[in-house]
């Protein structure tokens, strides 16, 4: 009995919020263009789920997750490779320092107009902005992770006379894996936020655009439904990424759970 109560406890506060919203929108705030009863939002979401057109939930979700995923893949590949290079060689790190410090503070959303100009609307512009946004944290975290690789391992690789390539692939990369997944988890969160932001600001596809267009067509029930859906998808993906990171950390025998460096 007690265990069930403890499991239900996190749900009480949201239930209270939703309940008072339902009550408000059915009494004082009736017919509002901004808010709708949550029960109607559920119905609107059901309709959107069943529809096959442009406002189809599955299609929009697929677009957002697809471009976030591909952008993260691109940003992570570039960030991890450059991060390993800068982590292994102090000289390279010192050489790249200034350029990185100059480019990194550019807010990723500032590139939305540029991406629009270069790629037009669609997958490519969104992927490029997500890749830029995820590149920097991946680079910094990978570099820090490489610098924390046990020095003995590198000495062993030198004693064995391994080539730089063999040293990277056989010693450094396996030692990095748990920390790389910590960085990837962070990247997943950033990628999703940036993808939705790009859609809200410019790109006419995906969940962000569906949310924006439901506001512009004065459909508060659908808007709330999309807002909630974006929240659910984001939460689920973040939880999955955390599970993945923990699982990898356990497998690699890292008992700290892969804490960030």
């Amino acid at each position: 009995m007690h265990a069930i109560a403890a499991r239900l406890r996190p749900l009480v506060f949201p239930a209270l919020v939703l309940g008072s919203l339902e009550w408000y929108t059915r009494t004082t705030g009736q017919g509002s263009d901004a808010l709708a009863p949550p029960s109607q939002a559920v119905l609107a979401f059901g309709r959107a789920l069943l529809s096959r057109g442009d406002d189809s939930v599955l299609q929009a979700t697929f677009f957002t997750l697809g471009s976030a995923g591909l952008g993260l893949l691109l940003g992570a590949l570039l960030g991890i490779s450059l991060g390993i290079l800068l982590g292994l060689s102090r000289r390279a790190a010192a050489m790249g320092f200034l350029s990185i410090e100059v480019l990194r503070p550019i807010p990723s959303v500032a590139l939305i107009p540029l991406a629009m100009l270069v790629f037009g609307f669609g997958y490519r512009m969104e992927i490029s902005v997500v890749a830029f946004a995820t590149f920097w944290p991946m680079l910094i975290l990978t570099q820090a992770a490489v610098q924390q690789v046990e020095p003995c391992l590198l000495e062993v690789s030198q004693a064995l006379g391994l080539s730089p390539w063999a040293r990277t692939t056989q010693i450094v990369l396996p030692a990095l894996v748990p920390r790389l997944f910590v960085a990837l988890r962070l990247g997943v969160a950033i990628a999703l936020v940036v993808a939705v932001t790009v859609e809200i600001a410019a790109n006419p596809s995906g969940m962000g655009y569906a949310l924006m267009i439901s506001q512009q067509s004065l459909a508060p029930d659908l808007m709330l439904a999309w807002l909630f859906w974006i929240g659910v998808v984001g939460y689920a993906i973040n939880v999955a990424a955390l599970q993945l990171q923990r699982g990898v950390a356990r497998r690699m025998g890292d008992l700290t759970g892969g804490r960030p460096p």
Binding site: F13, R90, V109, L114, P151, S214, G231
Partner: protein
């Protein structure tokens, strides 16, 4: 071991500058040789010209000022609201148990996703953008405050009990100082978020600022003005982050560990 040999600072700096100069040269070449169309990639000279011109006639400088004010105001509101709500939730273990899971659910929500809701509530106004900036940037501070209050050492709690400190005194004298490093780190992150959300807000709600300026520049194919705006935004991000890092260092001097 080659990786433990530190290069001399002077030489490292010179090499670092050389790499940056190399990147600039690459940009110059790529734009002059038309490797990339000049519609997308203006020459460095054209960009510098647009930047200086815009700063001199005050148009770009005015936009930059608008964006900076929006960012700072939103950040201040976010910091205040974050600490206040964080104390409300974090000061009691009961409130934490009931409300914290909801916060964990809302946190990954993109701040910009709240903007359509804010638009229908408050209309397309500067106040609306400010609200969304503050809302989006509040989370790092809020969660840092909750975490900092929750992670007070058991010994310190016992001391507070022995001294019969009231809850308010406990928060002010033990809880918040304990949370301060986390809060400051959160405030730095929230400054970054503030700039991002401010720019997005200016793009969507057509509020005067760099966000609107670069969107308009891109729409009318004025690439050099677009690049000048991006460069200014980078400078704002760099300056605010560097300033906060400095403040953080000063404020945390008392920490021994």
């Amino acid at each position: 071991m080659t990786r433990h040999r530190m290069p001399r600072p002077g030489r490292a700096m010179a090499e670092s500058l050389l790499v940056l100069a190399g990147l600039l040269a690459l940009w110059w070449l790529a734009s002059h040789q038309r490797w990339v169309s000049q519609v997308f990639l203006p020459t460095p000279e054209a960009t510098t010209h647009s930047l200086l011109e815009g700063l001199r006639d005050g148009e770009l400088a005015g936009f930059a000022l608008d964006t900076v004010v929006r960012m700072l105001l939103g950040w201040l509101l976010a910091s205040l609201a974050g600490v206040a709500l964080g104390v409300l939730v974090g000061a009691s273990a009961t409130a934490r148990a009931w409300i914290a899971p909801t916060l964990e659910f809302v946190r990954p929500l993109p701040a910009s996703a709240v903007m359509p809701l804010a638009i229908s509530l408050f209309g397309l106004s500067a106040g609306m953008v400010l609200f969304v900036v503050a809302f989006g940037a509040m989370w790092p501070v809020l969660l840092a405050t909750v975490y900092g209050l929750a992670s007070v050492h058991v010994r310190l709690r016992e001391v507070a009990q022995a001294l019969q400190l009231s809850r308010l005194a406990f928060v002010l004298k033990i809880g918040l100082p304990n949370a301060l490093p986390d809060i400051l780190a959160g405030m730095r992150l929230s400054m970054t978020v503030s700039l991002i959300v401010a720019v997005v807000g200016e793009m969507i709600a057509s509020q005067s600022g760099l966000g609107q300026a670069i969107l308009l520049a891109a729409r009318s194919f004025r690439a050099s003005e677009l690049f000048a705006g991006i460069a200014l935004l980078g400078a704002i991000g760099f300056a605010s982050n560097a300033l906060l890092a400095l403040v953080e260092k000063k404020l945390l001097k008392w920490q021994t560990t």
